[in-house]
Every structure is written in C-alpha cells, then in structure tokens.
Amino acid sequence: MATPPDPDAAREAIEYCYEHGWTDGLPVIPASEALLEQFLAATPRDPDEVLWRMDHLDRECTVRTAAINAAMAGCLPEYFPVVLAAWDAVMRDRAAKGGGWQSTSGPAPLIVINGPIRSELGINSSGGIFAAGFRPNATIPRTLGLMLRNAFGVVPHVFDQTTQGIPGRFSICFGENEEESPWEPLATETGLEPGTSAVSCTLTRTYEFVDNRHTQDPEQLLNDFADTLSRTGSLIFRGQSAGVVLCPEHAQMLADAGYSKADVKDWFIEHVGRTEADLRRAGKDGVSASGPGARSASAEERAPADSFTPYFGARKDIPIIVAGARNAAISMVFRVFGEWSNTSVPIESMAAPVAAAKGG
C-alpha cells in the first residue's frame, strides 16, 4: 500500500498560496512544474499564446498562466481544453470585453457545455446543475475567477468594484441535458455541427427559479415564466436579454404542445415586458421613453399608462438551455448582464482536433 501524502506538508503549501494572495478564499492546489506540464500537454495551443490582454490594466494572461490557475482551482489536466474554450467563449461577450469583469454588478459567467465531452469528463447535466458535487462543474468556472485575480489583478475592493455580486459567481457551469431535451443542443443552434463538444458562455446576473408543477397548459406555463422575466428590478436599460434554463419536464411539455425553441422565444418577445404604469411605479418609465442607453426616470408623462414596453428585441436575446433532472417541474430564469455572443466555441483537445467543426 502506498504511503499516504503528508497532510502537514500539503497544508504548508496551501498556506503559502494564501500568503501570496493567490486564492479566492478557499484553498487552492499548489501547482508544481510537473503538474503544469500535464495541463499544457492536454492542449495543442502554444503555452506562450496570449489568451487576453487588458490594456488599461497592462496585464495579460497566457495559456501557461491559465494552466497554472486551472491546476490551482482543482481541475484535472483533461479539463484544461474546456477552460480555454470557456474563456474564449465568455470573451466573445460584448460586456466581458468592455470591462464587465470589473463592473459593480459583479456578473457571473454562465458556462454551458455540449457534446460528448460531458460524459468523457463526468460533467453534470442532470440533477443539481446549480448545486455542488461535481469536480469539473466546480473547478472549471473557479479557474476563470482565479485567472481574473492572479493574471489580471482584478481583486475585490480595488479593480473588482462589485457592489454585492452574484451568489456562486464563479461556480455556474454545467452540461446541457441533450439526452432529455426535445430540441437541438445549444451549440448546434449556434451553428456548430451536431455532436461537437463545445462551450457557450455569457456574463449573467439574476438567477430565479420558476416552480410550476401546477398546469399542463403550455400557455399558462409560459405566462409564469413571463412574470419572472418581466421584473422591473433588473431593468436597467431599454433592450434586455434574459434566458431560461428549462428542466426537461418543462421543455418536453412545451415541445409536446408543438413549440420549437424559436416558438418559445417568439412568445417571450411578444409577452415579456411591463406597462408604462408599472415602470412609472418603479421610477423606470424613462427606460421605455428614451433611447437604448437611457437610465433616467422620466420627468413628465411620455406615454399612456397602459402602453406596453416589451423587453426583448430578438430571439438572440433569449438563450434557452435544457438542463437538470426529470424529477420535478422546476426551471431557472437568468438575466444576461450585457449581450451574449450567440455563438459556441469548439473544445480543442489533443485527442479531438477541432477541424470538423464549422462556424463558431
């Protein structure tokens, strides 16, 4: 029987990382050169490739630095291509490129994984997708948070200006439940070949459940979603983006009633929004009356009290994902922080080069 590792030596190394400010508050795995080499061997990408540069902070992150942080976050080396795809995917988000990581909103990356990589790595896509208990689901998003801290220097109270933030900010990552979804996978919807292992990612804010085990009428169910999607609290500017992570039961109910994903989005475009009177009551009627950038309350009556302001402009503003267990009719509404790229990034692992994929 092998000698167990020395827990005191492990703790000493972990404390060393704390002392250097390299952690997000939880212990990190001390990364050795040998471990780093395993991570770099998992990707065809050059270790010196710059993944992203934040000019205003004069900081950048290379593939090597990302690998160090993935190791520290607790990833296995084979997760590393998913980390790189997740980073590339989130940086296609306009808000992430525009300083969103430092926003007072403290937005959370939502990482959705499609394709066979889910079963290869044991990525959870069914029960407990927003909960804990699965190593890749927990460590891949944590890596993004550590990259921000350790590579870019975006730390709380200084360059990270988060007012309150989102619970579980760097822990939201799951596979789409393709096996129990009645519709095409998200990555296929965005243009990749079916069966491609890929990551879709955007910055998000609110997460709020819709528990509806009460009706078999699809329109009543959609109305229940619309009520949550139409909150005034999350309304900042005109032109909103919000999505739904549908549980398989809700998705199947809608599909059985003849709704495609596009039909559901079109229904939300038509029905999600508030009346002028509702917006005025919350001090937000300026949003309905002004241009897309407005954040002002209105100064005078600008529209009839019963006029309706729709929140969504196009299908691309309403990402729909199917995930979770088929054991109760509980889904999740989420609010997109800025603007999802509406694309997915193929995962480039050493075993499966990305040549077969199209678009992106």
Partner: protein, 60 residues
C-alpha cells in the same frame, strides 16, 4: 478628472498601473447616477473652483 468618492480606491490603483501613482483628481459625493439635471448642475458648481485651480496648475 472627477471621480465619485465611492471609487477612490480603484482610481488610485488605476493611476498606479498607468504609471502615475499619486495622480491628483477631484471627487464628488457618491451617488451620481440618480441625480436630476438640476442636481448635476449643483454638483458642477460645487466643484468648479477646484477645476479652475487644477487647470491653472494649483493644488485644489
């Protein structure tokens, strides 16, 4: 440069990474986002003298 006083720590840190540690800027009380145009005018009037001194090279 005028900054609302909730962002002083970030502004000082930004000055540091931009190679200008200790860069002098003016502040106005936080918050600003919900002010009416008239309240913004009052804020501008309150800081105008300091802006003039700063432009003239004096320490406001």
């Amino acid at each position: 440069m005028i900054c609302s006083d909730a962002f002083i720590a970030t502004a000082d840190a930004m000055a540091g990474v931009q190679g200008a540690p200790g860069y002098h800027y003016l502040t106005t009380p936080h918050p600003v986002a919900g002010l009416t145009p008239e309240q913004v005018r009052e804020r501008a009037e309150a800081v105008a003298d300091q802006v003039a001194k700063m432009l003239a090279g004096e320490r406001a």
